[in-house]
Symmetry: C2
């Protein structure tokens, strides 16, 4: 996507004299556009756990490049494979919920399975990381094409009146390598002249909606309005939302979906108000090993200070302000699980399917 006229991915290879990766350090958006260079495994682990990058697909790609950097650090070492396995464990521990992390790390480890020399292993790892990044973009484009048809249908049924779409958190290009998952159909609809307007849930506690999604939509000129996470139900009750699209951090084989905390509440309201609720995700986000999302998907708990303190711009500086009394503790659950029964459909790169085991498994068997 373009940032002030220049094309960016969220992660790219950089560096003259030594391999390095650069990312957009998303902690400073929308008020500062900061690029960070990652050159050690530790850099990668911090970038993921401290959320310089976030979003399941982007976490996966960052981890893939992290494994390659770890391999470069290990270098020509008789215990190369063991050392790389250790590095994999470190990076997999950074965040527990998004399955793409584990998925990407496994793809990387599989890619060197048949290689014996360290040189060949290094080159296989780099090729795999590059391939995963390119596939992520292709997947997002496909998700955009499939999801576009849904928005187009709604637009027709409204006789060309503005389509109002609600989204939670950021499943935009900042959550992927480019284009985004939930936003890909939105960008495509806008670029194809369908009049749309996006309700942007601010998405407490880290405000990825207000900070990242609003920034993305602004950059692209898409009409949008920021709302508190509390507001969606009221808007849906009053016919002000035509559809909901969100991203996903891990889905189960029966179609339960873990996504940013609060997604479940919006899905309940959509169901109650008879509004279609779609989840956009690459199939790499589906964990076929799991069935019951509420019982089985691990939910990350983060520091309560992310709830207690809010960061923003004040007098031209980024500052943190404390909201509750100093002595009041806070809990910080990162995700919740939306049961399949509340979901209208899953928009994947392989097409749209109902959130049920039969259709999800069939998706994996298709060659599309």
């Amino acid at each position: 996507m373009k940032v002030e006229g220049k094309h960016y991915r969220t992660i790219w290879e950089a560096g003259s004299g030594g391999f390095a990766i650069e990312i957009i350090d998303q902690r400073y958006l929308p008020h500062d556009f900061v690029i960070e260079r990652l050159i050690t495994l530790d850099n990668f682990c911090s970038a993921i756990s401290d959320m310089h990058v976030r979003g399941a697909p982007l976490i996966g790609i960052t981890a893939a490049y992290g494994i390659y950097i770890a391999a470069l650090e290990i270098g020509n070492n008789p215990h190369f494979d063991d050392a790389l396995l250790n590095a994999s464990h470190s990076i997999c521990k950074t965040r527990p919920t998004a399955v793409n992390l584990e998925w990407a790390v496994n793809k990387m480890l599989q890619s060197i399975h048949d290689e014996f020399s360290v040189d060949k292993k290094l080159s296989a790892l780099l090729n795999t990381a590059r391939r995963l990044a390119d596939e992520d973009i292709a997947n997002c484009i496909s998700i955009g094409n499939h999801g576009f048809k849904i928005i187009e249908e709604i637009s027709k049924s409204k006789f060309g009146q503005q389509v109002n779409i609600l989204t939670h958190c950021n499943a935009g290009w900042l959550a992927t390598v480019d284009y985004g998952t939930a936003t890909a159909p939105i960008y495509k609809a806008f670029d194809n002249g369908i009049p749309i307007h996006i309700w942007v849930d601010e998405t407490r506690p880290r405000n990825q909606g207000a900070r990242l999604t609003a920034w993305e939509l602004n950059s692209h000129g898409i009409p949008h309005t920021v709302i508190v996470d509390n507001a969606g139900g009221h808007l849906m009750q009053h016919g002000m939302v035509d559809m909901v699209i969100v991203g996903c951090d891990r889905a189960t084989r029966q179609g339960d979906v873990a996504n940013k905390i609060g997604t479940y509440l919006k899905a309940l309201a959509a169901k109650d108000c008879d509004i279609p609720f779609y989840v956009a995700l690459p199939t790499s986000t589906i964990d076929l090993n799991l069935t019951d999302g509420i019982a089985e998907i691990p939910i990350e708990q983060r520091n309560g200070d992310e709830v207690r303190y809010v960061e923003g711009l004040s007098d031209g500086k980024i500052r943190e302000v404390l909201i509750p009394p100093e002595s009041s503790p806070a809990a910080n659950y990162g995700f919740d699980v939306t049961p399949a029964r509340l979901i209208t459909g899953l928009i994947t790169e392989k097409g749209i399917c109902n959130p049920c085991e039969e259709e999800i498994v069939k998706l994996f068997q298709s060659n599309k």
Copy 2:
């Protein structure tokens, strides 16, 4: 309630040499405890519309004293009644959703119906305002007694294990003259030795939960944890909430309830997870003229900057920080309506009833 050992109401008569009212200016809590003196009708209108005081019952009592102050301003005037009616219109326009405002103003106007001299009118108005304030306290105590029994039952059914109660916004003593509506049963349960823990929704956009409810519970020593408004559904799915109690700004004769934006989402989750969802309110909050809450209750829209900017403590100073991009607009709906079908019961000063027309009307006929 006590603030650092000293007993306070949220509103009281003050002033030597001229009548005045003092309030706790709640905009500065929890970081500053500021008392404001109100001496003109304009002071009262600003105090309500700019939310120095908030909460349906307290808005009502503030309006009542505001009418008395307006009457003092009008003084010995042949057009006293017309002038007071004008003042009533001004104060009724300050906030549209809480019906207690209109209710209290009507009680004030009715009280001078049979008085002819301005002196007698003034004394009737002062007596009425005082009576309404005292009744508000008595009502909260009654609500506490009725609601206490529900908590006691849950505690018994959990064999004395901690009862986890979720509340949204502030329906505490800061929303009334004293004790609170939703919090009255909580204070009583705690004071009677029932082990309780409160999940405090921070309640965006104005954070009345994190700022006011947490401050109240802290002052009273009640175990609590602040959470983002997004978190309640996850907690309910995982058995971490035993009941929900919220306040109310206006209820209809069929039991639909307008309360702080986001209440509807919590009610949906409680229903989905089979958790009792109670609304605590004095009967003055029930508007027998209305039936369908979603269609009929007016929902206040406030300035979008209340969503875009967050206020808190930074380096010992209260500051505002901007969250989204400067150019992203925000919408700010103050309330939503929870349909009666999602509500387990209404806890009123006259007892607990089901949210249905038959029982609500019967409540008004009872002499309790």
